[in-house]
Amino acid sequence: MTALNPEKIKEQAKAIMDEFVKALDKAGEVSGEIGLEREQATREGKKSKPDNDFRERMLKNAPKKDSDYIIAERKSW
């Protein structure tokens, strides 16, 4: 598999975005809100039933763990 060149990919992505957004200039202006319509902004506060196996499943996915703790190196990401 060819190694990716992030700098080149970033430049290409920016060029595509610049081209697309320039094309949008001919779309004109809109009035009113431009967000999504929704009935509520928050999730309902209903309590779900506790899942006793969730912790085990979650820990199985952890790259590094120590008993009940997930280990991550500070600032490594």
């Binding site: 992030p6 975005m17 094309a23 949008l24 431009i34 996915n61």
Partner: protein
């Protein structure tokens, strides 16, 4: 690939004891064993599927089974299923197993559907060909050697290859409809807010919807009925009632006002596709005493340009959780080119120095396009168009410019921008390759959409 039974026939057999759920699942597992190596539609088989089917057989015998009891469902690998790999077809999550059931999965299980396996897809739902999976491309069972489309490539191919009765996909800009068209199956993108996105790995949260794929409209209607409805887990779901879509299919579709857009005709690179769609629309109109009207859809030629800046920004935001701490690997270190392009592009255009210019301009254009559709739906009941402007290319074709791939989405993106529902049924073939006809209906008019799809399916 012709299914041995229609969905309705299969359900009848299961309910009456002519076929057990266990036999049904074993049959599909056998076909997967024989053909999946070539097609690569299924990434992981549910090893517990037969045991689950046997439990459902007991429920069927007792007369207390759900509406899709015994049917086998393939699930796109970006939808969480407890205990099965939810890899998004990426090395980033290659060792990640679902810790909970997505709402759509919980609802399938509540209606006694059986998850047969996790389907291949374009990596993190970024693409439109089915070639960018980290676990190899999927072949098109209906046009071998050609792309199946994407990003629900494995879901569509699984249905077409006879690996399952039904499949779940997700659609952000056409990712159910595009592969449904290329593979010659039925696919439907619900209205935004119809189906809960809880448990779906976001591609673009303001566009994504989970939806059904099937060999026939009845199957799609049944699966949509099972998974739809308000959820306390997803604040973007709407509290509108869920009609019994599968039963409403029997209602006659007559006297529809069918819209066809001059702008869409101009956008079709392969004129043979447009002619095929136009001819079928004409037959449908004549058979149902409907009328076809030429409509204007202003700015729809800017759909791709409005869509991708929103995608880049929201995808960048949605992927910040893949930092390799709690699960998986750091996405930037383990993903493919298109995923990286969207992350780096999204990061770049959402920098503070740009003051939200890119995203805001795209949102404005989105609103203009959505308003155009709202106005059009006052003049017509449904809008018919091709699904893609060109035939699927051969697998392995070298395409270096991403805009060539983005162009596949020209007809499908508008429904996502508008939040409306849209479905695809097979319209015939060109050069032996399936071509899908797309129908769009206003938001939360899935019953009208499905009735029209069922009627066109008969032609």
């Amino acid at each position: 690939m012709v299914a041995a039974y229609s969905t309705e026939q299969k359900l009848h057999l299961l309910r009456k004891g002519g076929l057990s759920a266990a036999e049904n699942v074993k049959g599909f597992l056998d076909v997967i064993r024989k053909k999946n190596r070539q097609i690569n539609a299924i990434l992981h088989v549910n090893n517990n599927a037969v045991a689950e089917a046997k439990a459902i057989d007991k429920k069927i015998k007792s007369g207390k089974a759900g509406k899709i009891a015994g049917l086998a469902v393939a699930v796109k690998s970006n939808i969480s299923v407890t205990g099965l790999p939810v890899t998004c077809a990426s090395k980033t999550l290659e060792n990640y197993y679902g810790t909970f059931d997505a709402d759509a999965i919980a609802r399938i299980k509540a209606e006694d559907g059986i998850i047969i396996g996790m389907a291949n897809m374009d990596e993190f739902a970024c693409g439109s060909s089915g070639e960018s999976s980290a676990f190899g491309p999927t072949d098109n069972p209906a046009a071998p050697g050609r792309i199946p489309g994407g990003t629900s490539s494995g879901s569509a191919a699984s249905v077409a290859a006879g690996f399952c009765d039904l499949a779940l996909g997700s659609d952000t800009g056409g990712s159910i409809r595009n592969p449904a068209s290329h593979c010659g199956v039925v696919g439907l993108k619900p209205s935004y807010g119809r189906v809960s996105r809880y448990g779906l790995v976001d591609m673009t949260m303001s566009f994504d919807q989970i939806g059904p794929l099937s060999m026939d409209t009845h199957g799609a209607a049944l699966l949509l009925e099972a998974i739809s409805g308000k959820s306390g887990n997803d604040a973007t779901t709407m509290s509108k009632d869920v009609p019994k879509y599968s039963q409403l299919l029997k209602n006659a579709t007559k006297g529809l006002r069918i819209g066809m857009s001059a702008e869409f005709e101009e956008m079709c690179s392969d004129k043979r596709i447009y002619k095929l769609i136009e001819d079928l629309a004409g037959k449908f109109s004549a058979a149902t005493k409907s009328s076809i009207k030429k409509i204007k859809l202003p700015h729809v030629d800017l759909a791709i340009q409005a869509y991708y800046p929103i995608v880049y920004v929201e995808f960048f935001s949605g992927t910040r959780k893949f930092d390799g701490r709690k699960y998986g690997k750091k996405i930037e270190d383990s993903c493919g080119e298109e995923v990286l392009r969207r992350i780096l592009g999204g990061r770049e255009i959402s920098r503070a120095e740009h003051h939200g210019t890119y995203y805001r301009k795209a949102l404005k254009a989105r609103k203009l396009i959505a308003e155009g559709f709202e106005k059009a739906f006052k003049e017509v009941d449904v809008i018919i168009s091709p699904t893609t402007p060109m035939l699927p290319h051969k697998l392995g074709t070298k395409i270096t410019d991403p805009r060539v791939m983005y162009a596949y989405d020209a007809y499908t993106i508008p429904a996502n921008l508008a939040g409306s529902c849209a479905g695809v049924v097979n319209a015939g073939k060109i050069e032996g390759i399936p071509v899908g006809l797309q129908i769009m209906a206003p938001a939360f008019k899935e019953e009208l959409l499905l009735q029209a799809m069922a009627e066109i399916e008969k032609r």
